[in-house]
Amino acid sequence: MIEFTMPSLGADMADGTLVEWLKKPGDQVKRGDIIATVETQKGLIDIEVFDEGTIEKLMIDEDTKVPVGTLMALINPEKKIESQKAIPDITEEPVIQPTEEKAIPAFLTENIHIKASPLARKIAAENNIDLLQINGSGENGAITRKDVEGAIEQGKLVQGKEKSSIVAEPIKEQNISNPVRSAVAAAMSRSNREIPHYYLEKKIDLKKALAWMYGKNKELPVQKRLLPAALLIKAVASSLKVVPELNAVWDTDLQLKTEINIGFVVSLRNGGIIVPAIHAADLKSVDEIMENLNDIIPRARALRLRSSELSDSTITITSIGDGGADLVYGIIYPPQVAIIGFGSISEQAFAENGLLGVRPMVRVSLAGDHRASDGLTGSRFLVALNNHLQNPEAL
């Protein structure tokens, strides 16, 4: 029997609420089918199944919040429909965690080692304090009783009406106004805490690339016309073939990824960001990437993404867009090891072959995880990116 469990849709996700089962026992499923809708901090996500078989049994009820990894359904890999009747209807209670229950502090569910004294851990557990949010003052930065009690005290002071964010409250109560904000906060805090970033920058001349794009757009119907973003995504994907060390995740050591799935930062209208993945961007044409963007960006803004789109990225691109800041320094989305930042494209004085000219320029930044790679690797990547953008027809 295959166990279908609550998937992790990013390093910041501790649990999710099953909103709706889209399959029932007896239904046949295949890889890629959407089996359920789950609500996370990032909105309603369609959860895909990765196995083939028949749904044997649904283990949790709709509107139930469960931690990542909780058994949700059993899938029988042999598609014998009759076997379904033989299964007695066992009601298993320990698996389910009702929504009302308090959220488990992240340090208990995520596999992160925090240096804290046994006493500090005990007090934190008793008071439902998230140790991840506390700075330790003990030996080698260990969290001590004083630190935890300080956090409790601080929580009480702040409490007025709103609870301190240090106290791990159920997500629904914590910040009803903007759960995405909380998710961003958790992921970015973790990144800044754990990842030693190094930053590189390169100015890239986009004259040829844009000229090629405008030429191509003349031949395309309006709804298929290209935007620079599609070009930049494709160029990044191609450059990752040259420098595969940046297409990876860091989980105690460097794990290179063969698929190049590019996470593209989408800003939400009422604040916060979400990062859907453009799958296998190296194998797609620029047109296909544009098509992909046209499909995924509105869905991202509506918080209707598929689970694979939320969890599969192997690197992230953040792009400022027209008229905005000249350059963006990104913060890596763990467990990825790099993020590429594109500033707004603007006309700049440019010297080439002893002559001055005006060119559409973009300033590109690269933030790398120094545990995983070194500046030289990042530099090779930026050089490769420049080369690809100077030969747009080859993209």
């Binding site: 004294s117 046994p118 006493l119 500090a120 851990r121 005990k122 003052s137 003990g138 030996e139 080698n140 260990a142 001590t144 009783r145 004083k146």
Partner: protein
Amino acid sequence: MIENKIKISYREALKQGLQEVLRSDDRVFLMGEDVGHYGGAFAVSKGLLQEFGEERIMDVPLSESGFVGAGIGAAIAGMKPVVEVMTVNFSLLAMDQIVNNAATLLHMSGGQINVPVVIRMGCGIGRQLAAQHSHSWESFYAHIPGLIVLSAGTHEDARYLLPAAMKSPDPVIIFEYTSMLNMENEIQDNPAGVDISKAKIRREGREISIITYGTGVYKSMEAAEELASMGIDAEVIDLRVLRPLDEATFLASVSKTHRALIVEDAWRSVSISSEISARISEKVFYELDAPVKRLCGLEVPIPYPAHLEDSSVPQKKDIVNEVQKILNP
């Protein structure tokens, strides 16, 4: 009742303890090298020969195995011997008698033969006696089931542990510290609670438990005074009984202060402090707010020059520094 305090040297305290037990029971006698005519290698038994006579203050040949064995035999036969082994260094020669006879006979005889012998040993570091005569081997004896092992780290215990030990039906080893013999201090006349089963809280405090014994007690008390002037409130526990350990006392203390520093002159590896540290981790792990730390003797043969000898064992300033580090890392 009026508290009677008397000022007394450690040597005099030991002697008064001996006098008390010799006067209280005719079966009590003292045997050891030079304890009679010479008055004891450290002058602890000076004058006792004149008071109690040759039968009860007995000089013995230089054979630790022989006279400790004789003491054990006398105890089995109904006498109440106090055997003085001049220093712990020489006790190795008597170890077979102590470990294989005194400690086991109750068990080997199916409970028929108990061995109420008390063996006193001078020990410790700090008199420039060099590597072969400067030893802290309490842990050797504290390792042996069947023995009761006491450490007289204060004048009070030097005076009153022996009378308490004489009441034990089982063999008792008392460690006395030669470096403290001339030290004077005030003790209470007839204090309550000197027994051979309990550790003693020498100073109450809230922030850290300094657990120690022997020469560590006064050094820790002085360190605690200095720490108090810096606003640090340390508790000092004198283990006093090294076997069987009174763990209830130090575990309760650590549960209160949540931090522990163990201080001893002995070498660090496989020592009393190792045992204390292990028990704290085993039994009150969830009360700990900082790692358990130890200050022990350096693991070298103890050097002869005074400055090197001093620096080979923990001193008051080391204790003060270590406590500060634990509290304000």
